[in-house]
Structure formats: structure tokens, C-alpha cells
């Protein structure tokens, strides 16, 4: 009897124009924590979707305990003993915790019984959770517990986790790892997808590294340095953004006790947010998703109006002005959602350039668009930010995430803002594009603009910020110099364990 739980042999899956997985093979033993490592677009998600029965492979075989394994649907995969915790897209906000759990089970017991079992399992693994609450009211960490408990109730042999820590505070990550180690000790195999190298080094027993759909290496991550893993993953040496420190100028943007009610019933209202940002400075704002980031961006961009005095730009009250008036005064923003918020997906790059650039770049005259000037502006963005596209007449939707992100950031940077606010500037962007975007933010600050970077990527914030503050349930901590902040201090600023007490994880 060999000890392989799942063997994947020569799995291939092609989509029109791209081979997502090219002859991928690897094995997982019972109780092993196996990492799938790779950049965005390396084919990790497609691979696990095939194992979970969501996507059928074009060729190749999978074996489960030596038997052929061909799940046609997720139901079949769950019956075999495969469970999956998704990165996003798998919870229903308006339904209760128990209802969400029931939807992910093959034959759920009656609701009363199920609630009792949820309490039992959540207690056993130190993941406290109230079955009656609506998922929309839960924090990101608590939502993830819902997914994990949904999986655990089915007694899985293999648990797939797709980028589970991207939305957690450092303390929450520790609780998660505690749970995973306990599961692994009980014999459950875990397939762990991530691009965070330190996590993988501390958690995983084996790793398979993917690049552009191909396996480029397998290793024991505990024997490699993070740098070695990164270079395997990216296939080149990485360039780290750099900057010279400049003397700070006057206060450019100031928030004075900004209070704002969220427009979304599950959103977070801003409470008493105060902050001043100097010219030439980068302020990083961290925090777990859903703690008021979207609302803060909307308040700064002018999508939601505030009391006039609550926001001042170069000492002028602008809280009551709309987005275009603020642009005219020099406050530009780039929101998080690329498709639909920062850019109109089905419009061309030229048209998208006009949408925010028309005021500062003078792209309209007497109500008519000056298309020639607009095209030149779009071309200058494409050139300056190395946006890979055949030309400015292409639809925004046709660009890859990284290229479109470079375009929407570049569009604001080239308008010479006095203050630039960006939200998640490198979310879902590959490492080299992310480095370019960060460098452009630093260059902008060096030229004397104030930059506010809202992000959930702590490494990014530590790399570019002069000062760091964190949002927690709509409140902003006082900013502290980023240099020398420890992970523990950052975690405490982000709200500590964020109502997740580390409770009784007994072995």
C-alpha cells in the first residue's frame, strides 16, 4: 500500500488563447500540507478547480488512493472527500451562517441539529462562530471560519485552501495555521495555494511551483530561502522599488474628524477619521478588507459628500465638492475595482482616459471631445507606464489585470495631482507590474505630491510608506513612522485579533 492520497498525472487544460495547465503532475500524501506556489495567472486556480470537479481537464489522469478519480461535479468531489475553501465567491451575505454551511454539504441535517454541530466543531477547533448570524455582518476572518467549518463538517480527506490568508490580520493567520496543523496531525491532507513565501515556509511540508501553467520545480520549502522560492516562482530576479527621502512640504490634505455613513447595508461607516498628509509624503493605510477602505476612498474622491470642513485640500474646505471639482483642485483618486469603477470595461482606453482626464488635461472644448488630444494622452500613458496593448482604441476589458491597473494608475499620475489616493493599487497584479506601479507612486511623491495608499498588502505598505495607519471598523489609528514597525505592532494597529480571541486550541 503506497501512501499517496492524490496523484495528479500530466493534467492539461487549455482555454482559447491560453494553456492554463500544461502537463502538470504532483502527489499529496495523507496528512501532508502541500503548497501550490505561483504568481497570478500561473494556473493554480484552474488546477484546483479540476480537482474539485468544477472544470474538466482536457487530458491527463488523477488518482485517489490509487483508484481513478474523475469528478464530474463538486458534489462528486465532496462525496470522495475533497473539500475546498475559496478565495472569494462562495458565501451568501444575506443568508445565515448555518444556511451557508448547509449549502456546501451533500446531505445536511435539520437546521437545529446542524447549528448544534457547527457549535461543536467550532469549539473543537477553536473557531468560535454563531450559527444564526448573517454572513454579511461578519468580518473577513469570521467569514473564512464559515468556509472552513463547512468543509470540516464533511470530514474531508483533502482540504484545498485557495489563498486563505490574503484577507487576514497576522494574528488571524496564526489562528488559521494552528487549525491547519491540528487537521494535518489528524491525517487530513491540505493543498495550500499561496504566493506568500514566508507562510509557506512555516506551514508546508512540500511544494510544487508553477509558472505559466507548467511545473517548474518541487521542493521542501523549509529548506529554501524566501528569495530562492520567489525566483523559482517569477523566473527572474526581482527589482525592489527605491526612493530617496525628501524633505516634507506643507500639509496638502487634511481630514478633520470625518464621520460618514456607509451607503451599503453591509458596509462600514467612517467614525471620527483624522489624518494630515504632507506634500512629498506617502501614507499607507492598512487594515482587513471591509473595515471602511471603500468608504474612505469614496469620501476622498467625492463620490460621497461630507461636511465641508471635514476634508481640506491645501487649506481649502472641499468636503462638499463633487469628484470633478476636486479633480480641478488637484485631488485625484484611483479606486480598487478596475473593471466598472476605475475604468469602464467596454469603452476604449482613449475614452477611459477622457473620463477622468478631461478637466486637468483640457480634453474637451465647448462640450465637444478633442479626440486627437485624448488619443495623445492615452498614448502617453501607454508609453510612460509600459501598458501592453495593441493601441488606445482597444477596450479596457481586453487588457490583463496588471496592464489595466498600470493604465488606471498612470492616467492619474500623469495628470500631475497634488494629492493622489489609490486603493489596492497592485491587487491581482503580477510581481513586475506591481513593482512598476509602486515605483511610480514613489516617483510621484518625490516630485512633491502627497500620496495615500490604501492596501491590504502589508509588505507593499511597508515598502513604500513613510507613515502607516490602519483602519479598524471605520476608525483610523494615529499614523506612525513605517520604518521600524514590527509585525506585532502592525497587527495591534489593525485591531489586534479583531474580535477573534485565540480561544482554547488544545491539541
Amino acid at each position: 500500500m503506497d501512501t499517496t492520497l492524490l496523484a495528479v498525472e500530466n493534467l492539461t487544460k487549455a482555454y482559447p488563447g491560453v494553456v492554463a495547465n500544461d502537463s502538470v503532475s504532483f502527489t499529496v500524501r495523507p496528512g501532508e500540507v502541500h503548497a501550490l506556489l505561483g504568481e497570478n495567472g500561473a494556473g493554480k486556480s484552474t488546477l484546483v478547480k479540476m480537482i474539485y470537479g468544477l472544470v474538466r481537464p482536457d487530458s491527463g489522469v488523477m488518482r485517489w488512493n490509487g483508484q481513478p478519480y474523475e469528478p464530474a461535479t463538486p458534489h462528486a468531489a465532496r462525496r470522495t472527500g475533497v473539500a475546498m475553501v475559496f478565495q472569494h465567491f462562495s458565501l451568501f451575505e444575506a443568508l445565515s451562517v448555518a444556511e451557508n454551511v448547509a449549502l456546501g454539504m451533500e446531505d445536511p441535517p435539520k437546521m437545529g441539529e446542524l447549528s448544534a454541530r457547527i457549535l461543536e466543531v467550532s469549539d473543537a477547533y477553536g473557531l468560535p462562530l454563531d450559527p444564526e448570524r448573517l454572513v454579511g455582518e461578519l468580518s473577513a476572518g469570521e467569514r473564512q471560519r464559515v468556509e472552513i467549518i463547512r468543509c470540516l463538517l464533511q470530514d474531508p480527506k483533502l482540504l484545498i485552501m485557495d489563498e486563505p490568508t490574503s484577507v487576514l490580520t497576522p494574528q488571524e493567520v496564526e489562528i488559521l495555521f494552528e487549525t491547519l496543523r491540528k487537521l494535518s496531525a489528524e491525517g487530513t491532507a491540505i493543498l495550500y495555494i499561496s504566493h506568500k513565501l514566508e507562510e509557506i515556509r512555516s506551514l508546508c511540508d512540500g511544494a510544487t511551483i508553477l509558472r505559466l501553467g507548467k511545473v517548474v520545480g518541487t521542493c521542501d520549502p523549509r529548506e529554501k530561502t524566501a528569495r530562492e522560492l520567489a525566483e523559482l516562482m517569477v523566473g527572474q530576479t526581482l527589482h525592489t522599488p527605491s526612493r530617496e527621502s525628501e524633505a516634507l512640504g506643507d500639509v496638502a490634505l487634511e481630514l478633520n474628524s470625518l464621520n460618514l455613513k456607509s451607503a451599503n447595508p453591509f458596509g462600514t461607516s467612517l467614525k471620527d477619521v483624522s489624518l494630515s498628509v504632507h506634500a512629498g509624503e506617502v501614507v499607507g493605510i492598512g487594515g482587513v478588507a471591509g473595515n471602511g477602505q471603500d468608504e474612505l476612498l469614496a469620501a476622498l474622491s467625492g463620490e460621497i459628500l461630507a461636511a465641508p470642513d471635514a476634508i481640506t485640500l491645501n487649506r481649502a474646505a472641499i468636503g462638499g465638492l463633487g469628484p470633478n471639482q476636486r479633480r480641478k483642485l488637484g485631488l485625484l483618486t484611483a479606486p480598487e475595482e478596475r473593471l466598472g469603477h476605475a475604468a469602464a470595461p467596454d469603452m476604449s482606453l482613449t475614452e477611459n482616459a477622457v473620463l477622468t482626464g478631461t478637466i486637468r488635461e483640457g480634453l474637451t472644448q465647448n462640450g465637444f471631445v478633442k479626440w486627437g488630444a485624448a488619443r495623445d494622452f492615452a498614448n502617453s500613458i501607454i508609453e510612460a507606464f509600459d501598458v501592453r496593448t495593441p493601441g488606445p482604441e482597444n477596450a479596457a476589458r481586453s487588457l490583463s489585470g496588471g496592464n489595466l491597473q498600470k493604465f488606471v494608475i498612470g492616467r492619474e499620475v500623469l495628470q500631475r495631482p497634488d494629492v493622489l489616493v489609490v486603493n489596492q493599487p497592485t491587487w491581482g497584479v503580477d510581481a513586475s507590474a506591481a513593482a512598476a506601479i509602486r515605483q511610480s507612486l514613489l516617483d510621484l511623491a518625490a516630485k512633491g505630491a502627497a500620496v495615500i495608499c490604501i492596501s491590504q498588502d502589508l509588505d507593499e505598505l511597508m515598502e513604500i510608506s513613510d507613515r502607516f495607519a490602519a483602519l479598524n471598523e471605520g476608525r483610523l489609528t494615529p499614523p506612525r513612522p513605517a520604518k521600524g514597525l514590527t509585525v506585532d505592532e502592525i497587527g495591534l494597529m489593525m485591531g489586534g485579533a479583531h474580535d477573534m480571541e485565540v480561544s482554547h486550541v488544545e491539541a
Binding site: 470537479g53 465567491f89 458565501l91 451568501f92 451575505e93 449549502l103 447595508p265
Partner: protein, 310 residues
Amino acid sequence: MDFSAINPLVLLASIMVASTPIVLAAIGELVVEKAGVLNLGVEGMMITGAVCGFVAAVLSGSPTVGFIAAAIGGALLSLLFGILTQFLQSNQVATGLALTLFGLGLSALVGQGYVGIKAPPTPDIHIPLLADIPVIGRIVFQHDLMVYFSIALIGVVWAVLKYSRIGLILRAVGENHDAAHALGYKVVRIRLLAIMFGGACAGLGGAYLSLIRVPQWTEGMTAGAGWIALAIVVFASWRPWRVLLGAYLFGGVTVLQLNLQAAGIAIPVEYLSMSPYLITILVLVIMSSNRNRAALGAPAALGRSFHASS
């Protein structure tokens, strides 16, 4: 002006009859919207049901056959909407509007030879004992079977949505179709079934008009009842029992204004005819004024088309 001509007993009793078509159409649309689909073609499905039911009842001489035919007719028309929106990814709003226009035209064509004929009568049932209760018995317990069927249907839909697994899956699909798909539920199939249920209910509502309420066939006889049903689903914040309440409120105002007209009140008839619609709009505005509460009831994926791209 002679208010004594209004008999409060008859008035109250006729509210239930006047409201039943809207109750049926609205509860069907509620299920459709709970599954995340916005079908604006309720009016077209109602009038198609009205003509199918009328023709079948006249030909067979049986109102029961008429109602069955109406449900099938409404469901078939909604299936057209389902195929267009779920498989061919057409825009739900535009397709729904087109469905209404198509249903109005189709029903006029089918009903050409049936104008002026009387439908076979549907008997009122007298529930023993209950019907003999003074006042209440007269108002509540002496109607035809469809009135009670519509109330029972509200109860069934409420219980299924709240307690059953299929109801949970339906709500999940309407809440987040990507997540439902990721968990392995057949989003398109569930939505098609919900759309057909909605079509059948709208058909029954239309047939109730042509077979019992009026009972005759005339072109365009639904006169906006389908749009009112759509508004009542929003008014009810997607809750079944509130659909009943909303429909009876609308029915009540309709019946009252008819009685006031008959009593010769000194307000122009046009204003009275307008009043049920005005009151519906007014109530909708009041209900929607609290945006958070309204948003909580609405299915999050309402009106968004789903394509399994992964």
C-alpha cells in the same frame, strides 16, 4: 351622492375577488426574483394566460381545464423569456418588456373569435359551518376555489422558501450565482424552473380575470395588473405574506373607487380610476425611503445575467 348605496359587506367580499389575480401573479414573480431573475413580462404572461384559459374553458366547457391551460400557456411564454435570458444571455429588462408586448399581441390574435362570449361559470363554494358565520362568513368563506388556492399558494411559497432545502438553494442562486455555481448548483436550470413557475402563476392570475372576475374576453383586459404585481413584489420586500397584504390593499382601493363611482361622488371619475395606481406609487416611495432595509430584502444578484466562465 348616496353612500348608502355602498354595502360594506359586498365591498369587503369583493376585495378578495378583485385582489386574487394580482396575488397569483405577484407570488410567481416573487419566486422568479428570489432566484435572481427580473422578468418584466408579467403583464404579457397574464394576458396570455387569460386568453388561453378563456379559449380552453369555452371549448371544453370546464373552467378547471381553462385554468390548467392558462398555467401551461403562461409557463410556455415564460420559457421563451428563460431561453433568451439564460441561454442566449439577452438583457433581462429588454427581453421582459418585449415579452409584454409580444403577449399582448399574441393574445389579441388568439382571442379574435372569442370576444363577447360568456365563460362557463365557476361555482362559489360554501364552506360548511364557516360560511354560515354572520358577517365574516359572508366576507371570507363564500368565494370560488381559486381565491383559497391563491392564499394557500402564498403559504406554500413562504414555507418552501423558509424551511426547505430547495428554497434555500433558490435563495442562494438569487443571492450570489457565482458562489452557487462554485458549490456545484445548476444556476441556469434552477432559474429556468423558477421562471416557468412564475409564468404559470401569472397565467393563472390572467385566467382568473377572464374566467371569474369579468368573466369575458376583451383585448388588453389585464389593464396593467401585471405591472402592479411587479410593484407589489418590491413593496413586499420580497416576503410572501406581505405580497398578500399589498395585493389586498391595492384590490381594496380598486373596489372602493368603483363603489364611489357608482355612488356618484363629486370627484371626476378619472381621478378615482387613477387612485389605486397613485397609492401604489406612494406606498412604494415610503417603503423605499429606508434604503438599507429595502436593500436587505432584495436578492443581490437580481437582474444580473450569469455565465459559467470558469
